[in-house]
């Protein structure tokens, strides 16, 4: 996964907001995940498929931090979410 990767939410993921926390469940695997504030913002930004670079630009507008740090931490978060089958890569943008 890199800046040009295009990602989207997995189709079979359910979400619920409970006491301000976004809780996700992959309905195929049955696995649960709770998102912190940043994870929840990433999830909201992925309401539509987006390239990682676009996502980082959106997050930079919300959170303080240099671009390189935001990119590095966002990719790490996305990789974790992908490993839990919450998001997936589509065809990379040209």
């Amino acid at each position: 996964m890199d800046i040009s990767s295009k990602i989207r939410r997995c189709a079979k993921v359910l979400e619920a907001e409970i006491d301000g926390e976004v809780v996700l469940m992959n309905s195929v695997s049955g696995s649960y995940c709770g998102l912190d504030d940043i994870g929840a913002e990433v999830w909201r930004q992925l309401a539509q498929p987006a390239a990682v670079g676009e996502l980082c630009t959106a997050l930079a507008g919300v959170y303080d931090g240099d671009r390189a740090t935001i990119e590095r931490e966002t990719i790490a978060l996305l990789q974790q979410m992908a490993s839990q089958q919450l998001i997936e890569q589509t065809a990379a943008s040209a």
């Binding site: 809780v23 992959n26 309905s27 195929v28 995940c33």
Partner: protein, 321 residues
């Protein structure tokens, strides 16, 4: 000595959680029904297979088939086949006592039936606080029933024992459907708890001598409403190092995980859910009720202290956001 079970083919009509039931086994826990309408649920004596074909899950006592039927097998008591949320077939073991059959009917088969009928069966006793339901959850022998008994002695109506029936889809928020009003207590709990009890109840019935389990049926008018809003789920835990009881509020993912871990017959029950339905139910309950751990050093030696702590905790439960 109570005679062992004999199938007669005769049934009696009862009310069960507002459902119309006919039952071949006599069920003194339930109120009789005289509306003459067709039943929604039947409990009958019949041959029950020893195993299910193609089980998707099998535990020491329970197996579940692909089509959602559940088979419960209890040595020296009998087998229960629960299907479609409308039927429980019971094949008693030779010399099984009626009380033993009822014990496992309520402890196990009832929870399965409720799930098949679309409800969330929580492994909990439940009492009423000012028109709302408070469930007392926890693993077996944590003192749920004993604590419910102690709260009942202070005027809190018993809404359920061992299986709390939650309608997670109720229009105004998750609600508890009152179940048969009894408590199954261990002999030492009964001895410790019964002194000074003022609420009306039948003389304790010994359900299973070898287990030392007794049933107290509570005689009072049922709640005015068919379902009470679920205020809180309090999960009892012990910590021998705890100097005094304390509470921990759970939110979000922690609350959802605790609820699913406290489902009645959890391993078998998970097989009876589609994942998305389970998530919908558990997340709705977590979002609308106060989910807490109550941690104390022990239940029985400090029962009065724990009971007071529960009463205080309920008043301090944070309301949903």
């Amino acid at each position: 000595m109570t005679p062992s079970v004999t199938a007669t083919g005769q049934t009696q009509p009862y009310w069960l959680c507002g459902w119309r039931l006919i039952s071949e086994p006599e069920l003194p826990e339930l109120n009789h029904r005289d509306d003459g309408l067709a039943p929604e649920i039947s409990i009958r004596f019949a041959e029950v297979p020893e195993i299910l074909e193609d089980p998707v899950v099998r535990t020491p006592f329970c197996s579940v088939s692909k089509d959602g039927r559940a088979l419960i097998t209890i040595a020296a008591v009998g087998r229960f086949l629960i299907r479609n949320g409308t039927e429980i077939l019971v094949q008693p073991a030779q010399s099984a006592q009626p009380s033993a059959i009822r014990l496992f009917l309520w402890d196990m088969a009832f929870g399965i039936l409720c799930r098949q009928r679309g409800f969330f069966p929580l492994h909990a006793s439940c009492v009423e606080f000012d028109g709302e339901a408070v469930a007392l959850a926890g693993h077996s022998a944590m003192g749920k029933s004993t604590l419910a008994f102690s709260l009942a002695a202070r005027g809190h109506r018993v809404l359920a024992d061992n299986v709390t029936v939650i309608d997670a889809s109720a229009p105004h928020g998750p609600a508890v459907v009152p179940a048969p009003s009894f408590l199954n207590l261990w002999r030492d709990s009964l001895n410790n708890a019964e002194a000074g009890v003022a609420f009306p109840h039948d003389h304790p019935e010994c359900m299973r001598p070898e287990m030392g389990k007794y049933q107290i049926r509570i005689r009072e008018a049922p709640p005015a409403r068919p379902a009470l809003p679920l205020r809180a789920v309090l999960t009892l835990e012990f910590d021998t190092m705890a100097h005094q009881p304390r509470r921990e509020t759970l939110r979000g993912l922690e609350a959802v995980r605790l609820l699913t871990s406290q489902m009645s017959l959890r391993r078998a029950m998970v097989a009876l859910w589609e994942n998305d339905i389970l998530f919908q139910h558990s997340s709705r309950i977590a979002a609308n009720a106060c989910i807490e751990r109550l941690i104390s050093r022990a239940a029985f030696p400090e029962l009065e202290t724990l009971t007071s702590f529960v009463e205080t905790s309920v008043t301090r439960c944070p309301l949903p956001a």
